[in-house]
Amino acid sequence: MSVREEAVDAYREALPALSASLVGGLLAGVVLGGMRAELGGVEGLLVLVPALLATRGNVYGSLGARIATALHQGFVEPSVGLADERLRAAVAASLANGLLASLFAATAVFAVLTLLGGSPSLPSLLGIAFVAGLLSGVALTVVVISVVFAGYRRGYDPDTLVGPLVTTTGDVFGVLFLLIAVRIVVGLGGG
């Protein structure tokens, strides 16, 4: 194919998913915009936001990409669900790594802000990171597996679906469960 044909092909394939993720990103932004009281109230929360959102994208994007490549190579069937042992291992690894990275991010934010002369609360940041990581992890696993399999069965290229799907749902679920986590942790007196 020529450069022009390749460009048209890539553009056409990416635009629908990118538009969906744009809507998701704006929704996430509106939730974040509505969290201004919490952001102002919990020191370090805004600093933690990119790390938490990115962890969702990293872990579940990698899970999705792994499944997409395996589907392309005919090495995973798009209908096995969680009965497949390898798929279960991939999901368990994603959840564990996602939680570890979230707790690590909270600790790093605490350490840096403390060094810079702030006084953030480590239990609050850890609690928020853990609750948000767990809730969004479970939700994202379900979404990634079901959408990639359903898309593949209908003839969509799973590669084009995975990135935007994960960043969209990752952002929306990420911010939404972050808000829920903040409310829970602050409600328990950790804030």
Partner: protein, 185 residues
């Protein structure tokens, strides 16, 4: 070449990179923290944050996923004359030119609907479109370099390239947004 599908092997392939990227994201959080007052005062800018860094990451990750599969299937060469490479790069910039005006207008409109914007529509558009076009060019550079590096280091691009690209684009997204805000607001 392929990581086996066990918790241990996936963790061994993923966790070191993941923790490193998390530190990078904390850095981008600190940039965000440095203009927290502006973000909390101008809600339309706060609304722009997830969608700008998300779209930048998406542009990079779509490109990375396509290059990565082409690479697995053996249909990619890393030459500037490679039509697949060039076509995908052009498409990335065009996608940014299509989406970022909508992002700016959307962020402004949604903020106007849910409260006060405190900024003109044109200012928010200027911030989002300038950031978007810069980010598209940066996303192409980062993706091509990362895919090429994975190829040279014999790493599985699925494990390495997409995370590296998405996170670099996140950080660049925050930095570019910060610079645009300093310039136009």
């Amino acid at each position: 070449m392929h990581t086996a599908w066990t918790v241990r092997d996936i963790t061994r392939a993923m966790l070191p990179v993941l923790l490193l990227l998390t530190l990078v994201e904390v850095g981008s959080g600190l940039v965000l923290g440095s203009f927290e007052d502006d973000l909390l005062y101008y809600p339309s800018l706060l609304v722009l944050v997830p969608v700008t860094i998300g779209t930048a990451g998406n542009l990079g990750s779509v490109l990375a996923a396509r290059l990565s599969t082409a690479f697995h299937l053996g249909t990619l060469s890393f030459s500037p004359r490679d039509a697949r490479l060039a076509g995908n790069a052009v498409a990335t910039v065009l996608l940014a030119a299509t989406t970022f005006p909508i992002i700016g207008a959307g962020a402004w409109g949604l903020t106007a609907l849910t409260g006060t914007t405190r900024l003109e529509l044109t200012t928010v558009l200027l911030v989002s479109v300038t950031s978007g076009l810069e980010l598209a060019v940066l996303a192409v550079l980062v993706t091509v370099v990362a895919t090429y590096a994975a190829y040279r280091l014999e790493l599985d691009p699925d494990d390495v390239v997409i995370p590296v690209v998405t996170n670099t684009c996140d950080v660049l997204g925050v930095v570019v947004l910060y610079l645009s805000v300093r310039l136009f607001v």
